[in-house]
Amino acid sequence: MATKKFDIKKSWNAALFILIALALLGGGLSGLIGRFQTGHEQVGYGSNVPWGLWVAIYVYLVWLEVGSVLIFTTLHYVFDFKSLKAIKGLAYLTAFTTLAPALMLIGLDLGHPFRFMNTITSPNFGSFMAWMIWLHLIYLVFLLVKLALVVLANRSRKPERLNKALKVLALLSLPVGVALLGTVGSIFGANSARSFWQMSALPLYFLIFALVAGSGLVTALFVCFAPKSEESYAATAGNLGKLTLALLIFGAMASAFSGLISLNSNAPAQANAIQMIVAGPQQWTFWALYIGLGVLVPSILLFVWPKATRVIGIAASLVFVSFAAVPFNIIIAGQTADTLTGADAFTGFGLQLGYAPTMLEWQVVAFALGVGLAIFLTGYYLLPMRKLEMEG
């Protein structure tokens, strides 16, 4: 395998990423403005499918955010993968990077974004949504502190105490992360009204999927950013690849089984939902994105070239990127009609049964991702974490 590696540090790479970020921001800006000017008048979700692309991407970003940190922390601190140290800062930075667009999307999804504060001032702790928000905020605090500790540790001459604190915090944040994932899963899974979600042990799946996506992200980060000079580089990359493959296959098998059970369970709503995923108008997201790019291609790559670090990087990237399709599928399908909707009984904006994201929704997603990318680039170039990494 060639040793020439993709290297973001090269200035043309930086330029490329900045360009991408600018493109996302620029392309999405009018959508964002549109969202503020016209509120929810130009969206594709409605009252029968109330949660659309933004919620799906939010969930996806949470998976990445929490999954990557879970994988990193477990491997690094629990299983003592020493070489992962190299991407410690980056792992937290990426997590933080995903958090910003996630919160932005979920905020814009609200009918009254500026009443977000109500969830802080008068939370209903009987609702998973309130828990999610609070856990997310706690998680955010953890992340920020961790990030700060990494930065401080990098600057400090005697980083041991800080690193120790970091470890404690990292371990402490593990259950918070798991709880957050579980809560997000429960927001969907606890709805007796939506049997598809209820049936599929959703919180557990959310955890699994978050781990798959997270391991993909961590692997990709490692392959990209860890110093190739280090001798353990190839071995670690290989191990990460194996882990990703294992999680990937486990996740795919588990969901396939649950899908099959649903299909054969005499529960029409669930069968409909599965039908919707595999044969609905957005089936490409399932077949092409998830099954094709997200499962088959990376599995083959990882299986055939288990040691080729570059291939591992590509495969891992494919996994974490294409996993965006998974929450989309789960979430939309779970909202497919049951008998009482009466979409024919009264028609009107938002009363249609199906869902297809509108241009405006895509634009807002693009803008949010652009913001994420911009944060990453800013952090990457301006915060003193690169130094550490370069120095090994």
Partner: protein
């Protein structure tokens, strides 16, 4: 001069609060503010707790809905002068069952509301339609009719143009009304009218010719005022003004009669009856003809419907009371309550599973057009099993009926002479038995007439009788089934003829014809006679709008006669109105008489109704076949109006006014009317009164904006299924959105009335203007007319008689509180509409408080219990019902000279106007029908977006078997083509162009295979659905309004008259359900 009246404060919360403070209502309002449940305090948030002012009587005006023809009562609730909500009027029997006592104070009813159907609930949107016209528009000179280009015009200028004529459109001179208003001398008009009556009445050809000659010499100096002096029966040139309408109710109809009829003097004032349910009306008329001074007369244009609230068993034939049928609102609760609480059973005869049919005991999806066959099958079964009401049927005259306390009687036992060919003709009369006719005095004292009695048979005794005799000694009862010879004359009884007609086929054959099972028919027949008089059969459009429609209806009415259910609770009833015209003894304003002059209209009308071809001067000239059909038994023949005018038969029309009708849309083959209207040579001047640029008014030269139903007056009348005496009064509930104009120096909103008054002012027509109401003063503002009508209603139909201690029907005065509320509630109406002093003066001080009493309740309504009299109904038809119609037999088809039949028969349809059967080629393999959905009406509800939310688009509905055969799936777009529209196309003219008759497929099970249907109300090309240009500015059409299919253009035209839909020659119904079509995938 014109200024928009619109007073629409966007934010006048202040004015409302001020009002609350000022009015006595403040107390009430704060009272409930204080008593707010806690939840509202918790939830008040940033918003202050608001008074629900809609609950105050001061914010409510009672008026009448007109989303469909049912005319239910409305309670309009206003907020700052904007209609915030409408609900049902609890005083009105259409909205409540039973309705609340009329005397209930209105403050007690402020929080009670009656029911409304979805169209009623949405009626706000008809008034607040962004596409409504505010100003008069004129077709832009140089552009064609239907070109979609308009210029606005001042009301007065437009009127002047219409009156004066000239080169109005750059197409050459157009004759104005001043020239058409040729005969102006009231004495001459009256004299000519009397003379023409004589000419028409003369049966002898030569004598008729002589009379015409005499006419010409008598009126030599006025002959230039006639359309054709050789045909004085065409009447004066005034008849070349045609005024026709779609939906018209009392009050406005009186206005039109006064201005256009006795004012302008044209006989051509024609309505839309035949497009609606013509043969139901004219079968009713034929069966209600009475023997009056030697002639069959006084037949009422009316019909009977079931008193569904009290019935135990009903057969609904082609009628859908849950969704249409003059009233889902009034009829549904009576039927559903019957179903659940009274064990009502009903049958629905309809090829389509309507919502009514979905709850039926039996749904009989018959073959369209076989309704008469089914009725005869039932008649056969009833008679065969001797289940008919012999006692009732034997009564041959009023005396016999009275002796049995029967409100009605029939001619079932009367004897009819049978000719050599075995055909039934005239009744056997005393003179046939050698009796000398008796000379009697005419009721009006104008002379004598010869009474020649009718004959019935009892055993072998002939009994001669007077149908109208009341004295017990003249009681006549006769045998029912008679086929014998009397005095050498072959005779049969009416019922015998019916029995023979019913036996012209076996039960199995009838079943085969109607596509039903014989066992079902037998079962229905058995059930029908199980409930005494509390059973009934009600036919409507699905039975009447066929070429055999008249006889279908006659057959079902005859079935009812067999059980004698007329005027019985749960049987057949009819409508009863309080007289608003003041013709009853003692009523304050006899508006028919109060006038300062008139131009008596006379002559044959353009659709040749109510006159026999043979009586006209044309007959001598043309003989059979006539150039077009004549309709002596019908009137208001909508489909003949524009086609005859275009044909110039019997004479050309120079100017046509159309009010609230859209024949281009509503008629079968309505596209033929578009073609006529588009050609200014056919009718040189077309003026429409419409609330917007509609499906027909878009082809007019001028459109005068009208008031919407919530802004105007009308005496909304009765429906025949409601046994109470009523008169709902439509009165202005909201400030008009149209221009204000000045006529006779009076400010008024642009409206039908303003248009009529304007014409009257400019032409100085009699009966209008200063002193127009004779002793009752001026008619210069609509109020002068309408408030007098309300005063008449307040008086009632019976005057109090102190001696006989009869209270009469005089209403009490409204008390001070009611007057205050009345006035407050109208505070948002501009003075041009509501001026307390003008109103009071119009009604007269003496009547004013009573008028308030009526208007506060939205009209006058008889109390619930007053409609019932034991098992009978209190308000009665109470006359003879003809099983055999001698008058009908006396009428000949003007195309063939063959006489019509006088009793229930089954005529296999479809046939053309000469009676010749039509057989289209086999490729047209589906029978096209049409139906109503509860949430749409014809050309109007497309503007109601709430209703569009229920059904944005209609569809082409097919049974799954047909769909499978044709390889069609749901939502496939298909075109409907027929033998007379093989392109399957509408041609809307210059602006809109051609469009296919196309819609989306909907596959259903609830439809007889072989039948295809679509619902009424979609497929628009005007009414805001398509772009128009006014004063050079583009007004974009609303894509929501253009959706769906309207397949009337596929409906068949008559082979003899390709410009007109198929038509029932006798009852004149426009035929909707007799077209075979092909459904083609596009």
């Amino acid at each position: 001069m014109s200024e928009q009246i619109n007073t629409h404060p966007k934010d006048c919360s202040l004015s409302r609060r001020d009002f609350l403070k000022l009015s006595g209502a403040a107390g009430a309002a704060t009272a409930f503010l204080g008593a707010l449940p806690k939840v509202n305090e918790v939830m008040a948030g940033g918003n202050e707790q608001a008074a629900y002012t809609l609950a105050l009587a001061e914010n409510q005006i009672y008026t009448v809905c007109q989303q469909c023809n049912t005319q239910c009562g409305l309670k309009v609730k206003l907020l700052d002068g904007v209609i915030a909500k409408v609900d049902g009027n609890p005083y009105n029997p259409f909205n409540m069952v039973p309705h609340v006592a009329y005397e209930t104070p209105i403050t007690d009813m402020a929080k009670t509301e009656g029911a409304l159907c979805p169209k009623g609930q949405a009626s706000i949107q008809t008034t607040y339609d962004p596409y409504r016209l505010v100003k008069v528009v004129k077709r832009k000179p140089g552009t064609p009719r239907g070109g979609g280009e308009w210029v606005t015009m001042d009301f007065d200028t437009a009127l002047t143009e219409i009156i004066e004529g000239g080169d109005l459109f750059g197409e050459g001179p157009v004759e104005g009304l001043k020239d058409i208003y040729a005969l102006r001398d009231s004495k001459v008009a009256q004299a000519m009218s009397d003379f023409v009556k004589k000419i028409l009445a003369e049966k002898d050809k030569d004598k008729k010719a002589a009379l015409v000659k005499e006419f010409k010499t008598t009126f030599a100096k006025d002959l230039d005022k006639l359309i054709d002096p050789d045909h004085p029966d065409f009447g004066p040139k005034n008849n070349q003004l045609l005024f026709f309408w779609g939906r018209l109710k009392g009050g406005r109809s009186d206005f039109i009669s006064r201005v256009i009829g006795s004012g302008f003097g044209t006989t051509n004032r024609i309505g839309h009856t035949t497009v609606c349910n013509g043969s139901v009306y004219f079968a009713g008329k034929a069966m209600s003809e009475q023997f009056v001074e030697g002639k069959w007369a006084d037949g009422k244009k009316f019909y009977w419907q079931v008193d569904s609230a009290n019935s135990q068993f009903i057969i609904f034939i082609g009628v859908n009371p849950f969704e249409a049928s003059q009233g889902p609102t009034n009829r549904s609760p009576r039927i559903t309550t019957g179903l659940v609480e009274r064990g009502l059973k009903y049958v629905v005869v309809d090829p389509r599973l309507s919502k009514t049919a979905s709850k039926a005991w039996k749904w009989l999806p018959n073959i369209p057009g076989s309704e008469g066959a089914l009725a005869l099958a039932l008649i056969q079964q009833v008679l065969q099993n001797n289940k008919h009401n012999v006692k009732f049927l034997e009564n041959a005259n009023k005396a016999a009926a009275s002796a049995d306390k029967e409100p009605t009687w029939s001619n079932a036992s009367w004897l009819i002479k049978i000719d050599e060919k075995g055909e039934a003709g005239k009744f056997l009369r005393g003179s046939d038995l050698g009796l000398e006719p008796e000379e009697r005095q005419k009721a009006d004292g104008s002379g004598t007439w010869l009474f020649d009695p009718f004959v019935t048979l009892r055993g072998d005794q002939t009994i001669t009788f007077d149908p109208n005799a009341v004295e017990p000694e003249f009681t006549a009862e006769g045998d029912l089934l008679v086929d014998t010879t009397v005095n050498g004359i072959r005779v049969k009884s009416s019922l015998q003829l019916l029995w023979e007609s019913a036996n012209s086929k076996t039960l199995d054959e009838w079943a085969e014809i109607s596509g039903l099972r014989a066992s079902d028919i037998a079962e229905v027949a058995a059930e029908f006679t199980n409930y005494g008089r509390r059973a009934a059969a009600e036919p409507h459009r699905g039975a009447s709008q066929h070429s055999n429609g008249f006889y279908n209806i006659v057959a079902w009415n005859s079935l009812n006669l067999l059980i004698g259910n007329y005027d019985y609770a749960g049987g057949m009833t009819t409508g009863f109105a309080y007289d608003h015209t003041g013709s009853k003894d003692g009523q304050p304003f006899n508006l028919g008489k109060l006038t300062n002059g008139k131009t008596t209209p006379f002559g044959i009308n353009i659709v040749r109704s109510e006159v026999k071809y043979e009586d006209s001067t044309l007959f001598a000239q043309d003989g059979y076949p006539a150039k077009r059909q004549w309709y002596p038994l019908a009137s208001d023949i909508y489909q003949e109006i524009l086609t005859s005018a275009a044909d110039g038969y019997p004479y050309p029309i120079k100017a046509a006014f159309i009010y609230m009708g859209a024949p281009t849309y509503s008629l079968p083959a309505g596209h033929t009317n578009i073609e006529i209207l588009r050609d200014p040579k056919k009718i040189p001047l077309v003026v429409a009164n419409d609330i917007l640029i509609g499906e027909t008014s878009m082809y007019a030269d001028y459109i005068f904006p009208d008031l919407s139903n919530l802004e105007r007056w009308e005496m909304a009348g009765i429906q025949f299924s409601m046994p109470w005496k009523v008169m709902p009064v439509r009165n202005p509930a909201v400030a008009p959105l149209v221009d204000e104009v000045t006529v006779f120096g009076q400010q008024m909103p642009c409206s039908l009335e303003a248009l009529l008054l304007g014409i009257a002012e400019k032409l100085e027509l009699p009966g209008v203007g200063p002193g127009g109401l004779g002793d009752a003063g001026d008619l210069m503002h609509p109020d002068h007319f309408y408030l007098k009508m309300v005063a008449n209603l307040a008086f009632g139909d019976k005057k109090p008689d102190a001696e006989k201690k009869e209270p009469g029907e005089l209403l009490p005065d409204a008390d001070d509180e009611e007057v205050r509320i009345f006035t407050e509630a109208r505070r948002f109406l501009p003075p041009s509409v509501f001026d307390l002093e003008r109103w009071r003066a119009s009604a007269g001080d003496e009547w004013w408080r009573k008028v308030v009493y009526v208007l506060n309740r939205g009209g006058r309504f008889q109390d619930y219990a007053k409609a019932f009299d034991g098992t009978k109904l209190k308000n009665k038809y109470g006359k003879q019902i003809n099983l055999y119609q001698e008058k009908t037999v006396g009428v000949k088809n003007a195309l063939t000279g063959e006489h019509y039949q006088g009793l229930a028969v089954y005529l296999p349809g479809p046939f053309d106007l000469s009676g010749k059967p039509i057989q289209d080629s086999a490729e047209y393999d589906l029978r096209l029908i049409t139906h109503r959905e509860v949430y749409h009406t014809k050309a109007r509800t497309i503007t109601n977006y709430w209703l569009l939310a229920l059904s944005p688009e209609n569809s082409v509905q097919l049974n799954s078997l047909d769909a499978a055969r044709l390889g069609l799936k749901n939502d496939d777009v298909v075109k409907i083509v027929s033998a007379t529209n093989p392109e399957g196309e509408w041609d809307f003219g210059a602006a809109v162009g051609k469009r296919p008759i196309a819609g989306k497929v909907k596959i259903i099970e609830g439809l007889r295979p072989g039948v295809v249907t679509f619902s009424l109300g979609h497929g628009h090309w005007a009414t805001g659905s398509t772009d128009v240009v006014i004063d050079g500015a583009l007004i974009k059409g609303d894509p929501r309004r253009v959706k769906g299919i309207h397949a009337n253009a596929a409906m068949r035209t008559d082979p003899i008259f390709p410009d007109m839909c198929l038509t029932d020659p006798v009852g004149a119904s426009a035929v909707f359900y007799d077209t075979m079509v092909k459904v083609e995938k596009m």
